[in-house]
């Protein structure tokens, strides 16, 4: 049985061929922090990292994943989480895990991104509540 590394642990890949990574995370191993909002790669809610690179897990077949998967559950203690809460960068919160996964990937590569860089990196994560100004504030101030 092939294995998939997720948040530092190994998981048996016992899903049918054709299963998406998002579906595998949510339905097979119970990691429901990764949300599905469009299921066709348009909204960013399902964003996870593979070897630190943000990808859309709803349009990624789980059997094609080659690398360590990091989901929001693996980023729970990242200071970005507190920054989002402190700045009120979430309302309904459904897109928030995906936003934070994208934001942590951004600051891992570029710890002090400019407004322009934040807007470029985060433009693929939709938020219908309109928390964008505060997401920008959270990412600008994540180091406290």
């Amino acid at each position: 049985m092939p294995e998939l590394r997720i948040n530092g642990g190994a998981h048996e890949l016992d899903a049918p061929v054709g299963t998406s990574l998002a579906h595998f995370l949510r339905e097979h191993i119970g990691l429901t922090g990764t949300k599905i909002a469009c299921n066709e790669g348009h909204c960013g809610a399902c964003t996870v990292q593979v070897d630190g690179v943000p990808i859309l897990s709803c349009i990624t077949l789980v059997h094609t994943v080659d690398g360590e998967v990091t989901t929001i559950e693996g980023l729970r203690d990242h200071p970005m989480v507190d920054a989002f809460v402190r700045t009120d960068a979430l309302q309904c919160g459904f897109c928030t895990p995906g936003q934070i996964v994208s934001a942590t990937a951004l600051v891992a590569a570029n710890p002090s991104p400019s407004s322009e860089e934040i807007r470029h990196a985060m433009a693929g994560n939709l938020c219908r509540c309109g928390t964008y100004p505060k997401i920008e504030e959270a990412i600008s101030t994540w180091q406290g």
């Binding site: 949510r26 339905e27 119970g30 990691l31 429901t32 922090g33 990764t34 949300k35 599905i36 909002a37 469009c38 299921n39 066709e40 348009h42 909204c43 809610a45 989901t71 929001i72 559950e73 729970r76 989480v81 507190d82 989002f84 809460v85 402190r86 009120d88 979430l90 309302q91 309904c92 919160g93 459904f94 897109c95 928030t96 895990p97 934070i100 934040i118 807007r119 470029h120 985060m122 433009a123 693929g124 994560n125 939709l126 938020c127 219908r128 509540c129 309109g130 928390t131 964008y132 100004p133 505060k134 997401i135 920008e136």
Partner: protein
């Protein structure tokens, strides 16, 4: 003693009379300004759970043995099912139950694209979907009615046209020095909550039903579901702890709840029915399109002599006729006003309320018309609005419970005064300008609403009420109110909500009503608990109760003594102090409304029609602000949805067939972080002294109302072009520029007298 009184209840502009029980005299309001907790920026209580992905939304709930549903929906705007064969689907792998068009609310005469016809429950969603492909259907396509004006001409209406008239509009127009006439159009927009509409239904035996649902109103779901299945209301339990956005579209059960409940009854297993994003954009509601034919008459000094509006709402197959004429009737002191509102019944998906339904659309028309008038009279648009300020409710002469719109205008001035400077910053083909628009809306909330407050031995409190927090942060505001009244830090208060089996009746989270409806009930419950704590403290510490108060987690005596709260509550061990509270009536004979103004700065590339919104300043009067942090988030969210509504969002139809072309989030253009202007929020934060024990009005809807008109008026300031239709696509922008160019050329080229 309990008193029975009759009061007026308003939700999103619709009034009903309501009997309520009032148990005690209202508490006095706190003084204006920040208190220990209320009025202070407070991060939301469930923020960490949501941010860490720990919050369990309806989408995340997995019940043992739960089945999944796929729904067969009409691909046509109007059709009849002449034959349907479900046998193959019934035998497909994993399928546990199938419903055909003879089960309510499924239908064999789907009146709009996306209307549900059949449903399949299977072990997995993939199996249900695969079985759906095996359903054999013969569709008879019928000619749909799609054009709103045509529907009005044919009398295909939701209701009788609604006419409001005061004074004599024809006389007012005759007395006018200037009359401006214009037709405005607004598009249909889609809510697109990130969590799609969905429910999980589970029966216990044949007469008890639990519904987990992403909703704005657990009690409304309970009532409708109980009625549908002929159950006592207490046999239906509705649960919604976390929900992923609604914006007005999740007030009612919808067909998916009944489908899940029917399939659950048939199979004896819990069943989930979840809309896909594409289904969401067909059958989860929309803000309906409107056509507004408006006239305004004014004297040369700017005094309005007449306002006249004929409105057509393209309501769709079902829904209600949101008042597009409301702003015209309510915003200005004009003696002669007439609005006629039609709701066209069309073969299009039913509307559902969307954040200030009717008023967003009607304010676009009215406030653009006012600026066209100002341009014609060569008057300052802000001065024109101040000149026609309504000091009492223009509809029925009632006084306002509070109105600080003049103060809003005063605070708008520094932003408004930037227009010379902004215009001067125009550069090449990029023209810049400033525009403003006013806002009026409801938002007073009302009874009934109840809350309980429980204080334990550890001196911590729980607010228990079956309300919902749909993402607005209302739960945090409730914690702040209880903390203030109990004199404890806010982190010692939990809020338990979202379950009709665990707490009393609470308001719908719609119509900007959660805080003004629930807040006073929570304060009253906390005060009941606080009174009991002070009574037992007086006995325990041998003091007169009148010299005791609760502050900073202490019982404080004005003679200098102070004791930690736990010193009294700790005596109770497992015992608890229980307080209960209810929402009192709104002030008799007064109109409770919210007001505001927004000032927009834009840049327009007159060669390409590209528009950029650089800045929006939002100044609103919503009474006392409980949480300035959450309030600024509400304002930003409303404005960003407003920017989408103004510039990019539109549900597109194939005009020949009535089928919907924008079902996905790449076709339907929501604003992204890169589209967001600078937003300045300025809330007046003066308690409405006539309204409840809090003085707070609602804030959810006001900020989206004036945004479109403010942007359109800024575009006129920048370019001279009159915007008449939303969204302002490049096509509409270039059309308006061309029209303005032709108008100017005709004016210059006209032979002089």
């Amino acid at each position: 003693m309990a008193r029975l009184i009759k009061t007026e209840k308003e939700v999103e502009g619709r009034y009903t009379e309501q009997w309520i029980v009032v148990e005690e005299d209202a508490l006095e309001q706190w003084p204006a300004g920040p208190q220990d907790t209320v009025g202070r920026p407070t991060p939301r209580q469930t923020g960490l759970q949501r941010a860490r992905g720990e919050a369990q939304y309806t989408a995340d709930i997995q019940l043992p043995g739960m089945l999944h549903t796929a729904v067969l929906r009409s691909p046509f705007a109007r059709a009849r099912v002449s034959e349907i064969d479900l046998q193959m689907a019934e035998k497909a792998p994993g399928v546990r139950a199938v419903l055909g068009p003879d089960t309510e609310p499924l239908t064999d005469e789907p009146p709009y694209q996306g209307a549900p016809v059949a449903a399949i429950a299977a072990d997995t969603f993939e199996q249900a979907k695969a079985a759906l492909a095996l359903v054999e259907v013969e569709w008879e396509q019928l000619t749909p009615l799609l054009d709103a004006d045509e529907a009005v001409a044919k009398g295909e209406l939701m209701d009788e046209p609604s006419t409001h008239e005061r004074g004599d509009v024809e006389r007012g127009l005759a007395e006018a020095d200037v009359v401006v006439e214009a037709e405005y159009r607004t598009q249909s927009v889609l809510h697109n909550s990130m969590e799609t509409h969905q429910a999980i239904c589970q029966w216990e035996g044949d007469n008890r039903l639990t519904v987990h649902i992403s909703t704005q109103y657990v009690w409304g779901i309970r009532e409708e579901v109980a009625e549908h299945f002929g159950l006592p209301q207490d046999h239906v339990r509705v649960v919604c702890r976390f929900m992923g956005g609604g914006f007005g579209s999740k007030n009612r059960p919808g067909s998916y709840t009944y489908i899940a409940a029917e399939l659950a009854r048939k199979t004896g297993r819990p069943v989930k029915c979840m809309l896909s994003r594409r289904e969401e954009n067909l059958d989860a509601g929309n803000r309906n399109a409107t056509i507004q034919r408006l006239r305004v008459g004014a004297r040369s000094d700017g005094t309005l002599t007449a306002l006249d509006g004929s409105f057509v709402n393209a309501t769709g197959w079902d829904g209600w006729v949101a008042s597009t004429g409301g702003p015209m009737r309510m915003l200005y002191a004009c003696e002669n006003v007439r609005t006629v509102e039609h709701g066209a019944k069309l073969n299009l998906p039913p509307m559902e309320p969307f954040r200030a339904p009717g008023f967003v659309e009607g304010t676009f028309g009215l406030e653009c018309l006012l600026d066209e008038l100002a341009a014609k009279l060569d008057l300052d648009p802000l001065e024109l609005r101040k000149l026609n300020y309504a000091h009492t409710d223009a509809m029925d002469e009632r006084p306002f419970s509070s109105k600080s719109l003049l103060e809003c205008y005063r605070r708008a001035e520094p932003h408004w005064e930037r227009r010379e400077q902004v215009r001067a910053s125009s550069d090449g083909t990029w023209k810049r300008g400033v525009g403003l628009a006013s806002q009026v809306w409801y938002g007073g909330g009302g009874p009934p609403s109840y809350a309980w407050v429980r204080v334990g031995a550890d001196g911590r409190a729980a607010v228990i009420t079956a309300m919902q927090d749909i993402g607005t942060g209302s739960a945090t505001a409730m914690a702040q109110i209880a903390a203030e009244e109990l004199g404890i830090p806010v982190d010692r208060v939990e809020v338990s909500l979202g379950d009709t089996a665990r707490g009393p009746f609470a308001s719908i989270s719609a119509g900007s009503s959660t805080i003004p409806s629930m807040g006073p009930a929570v304060r009253s419950a906390a005060a009941d608990a606080a009174r009991q704590i002070l009574e037992i403290s007086a006995q325990r510490f041998d003091r007169e109760q009148r010299i005791l108060s609760l502050k900073g987690g202490q019982i404080v005596s004005s003679d200098g003594g102070s004791w930690p709260l736990e010193e009294v509550t700790g005596l109770l061990e497992s015992g608890q102090i229980l307080g209960k509270g209810s929402r009192g009536p709104n002030p008799t004979g007064m109109q409770v409304l919210t007001f505001g103004v927004q000032v927009a700065e834009v840049a327009v590339d007159v060669e390409t029609g590209e528009i950029r919104v650089d800045k929006i300043a939002a100044i609103h009067d919503v009474g006392r602000v409980i949480n300035p942090l959450g309030a600024s988030s509400q304002v930003e969210g409303g404005i960003i949805q407003g920017v989408g509504h103004t510039l990019s969002e539109e549900r597109l139809l194939d005009p020949a067939t009535g089928t919907i072309l924008t079902q996905t989030l790449d076709a339907y253009k929501l604003p992204t972080i890169a589209d967001v202007p600078e937003i300045v929020t300025d809330l007046i934060d003066e308690p409405d002294t006539h309204l409840t024990n809090l003085g707070s009005k609602g804030l959810g809807e006001p900020p989206i109302i004036p945004t479109a008109a403010a942007i359109a008026n800024a575009i006129r300031d920048a370019t001279g072009a009159d915007i008449r239709s939303l969204p302002i696509t490049r096509e509409e922008m270039l059309r308006a520029l061309r029209e303005a160019h032709e108008r100017d050329r005709d004016r210059v080229g006209a032979p002089s007298a």
